[in-house]
Amino acid sequence: MCPVVSVSDAREKLSNVINEVAYGHERYTVERRGQPLVTIIPASEYNDLVTLLTENGVLSEVQGVPVTIRFTGQAYFISDDVFNLYGEGDTLEAARQDYRTAVQEYRADLEAHADHLAPYLAEHLVQLRALESASNVL
C-alpha cells in the first residue's frame, strides 16, 4: 500500500513528495475526506505501465467471454478473439459497458438473420446462445 496523504498535506509538502517519488521509489495516494483521489507514481513507471498495457494488455473475462483489456494512456480497449468484438471507453467501466453492448447487439443481429448466416456466423450464434444459457446475463 502507498503512503496516504491528504490534499492539504500534499499541497504543503509537494516538493518533498515529488522528490520521494522521483528519486526514492515511493508512491503516494492523495485523498480527500477519506476518499483516494489520485496516486502519484514516477513518470517512467507510468510510461512503462502504459507500454505494457498497450502492447500486451491484461487477460480478463466479460460476460463469460475471454477478453484482452488494453490501455493506451488515453482510452481503454477491450476485445475478444472468439467473436472479434470490441468495446472502448475513457474509463475501464465505460469500455466494459461498450463491449457488453457490442455483444448484445451482435447476438440480436445474428438472431434476426438466423436463417441466412454464413457458417462461421451461425457458429457464433450457437456460442452466444450457450453463453447465455451458462450465465443468463446476455
Binding site: 493506451t72 476485445s79 472479434n84 468484438l85 441466412h116
Partner: protein
Amino acid sequence: MTTLPARKVATVLSGKFAFEVEDSHHRIYRLFLDGQLVARTFMSHGARELSDFHIQKMAQQMRLSRKEFLAAVECTLDQATYYTLIRERL
C-alpha cells in the same frame, strides 16, 4: 502506429463494398452475398480516427488480414477481389 480516418473507412464499406448500414448503439455494417450474411462489422458513432486496435478487429470481422484491410481502404483491393476472398473464407 497506423491510423485511418473513420469517414474514409465508412465510405469504403458502404460504397465500394456495398455493406448495408444501420444505426444502433454502434453504426453497424452488414454484407450479404448469395442471400447470406457473410460479414458484419461496426464503428462507434462519432469515431474520427481508427487506431491499430480498430483496424485489427474490423479486418477480422471482414475476414481480411490487416494488410488486406489497409489495401481495401487504400483502394488497391477492389470489390470483386474482396468478394472472392470472403467466399473462400466462409
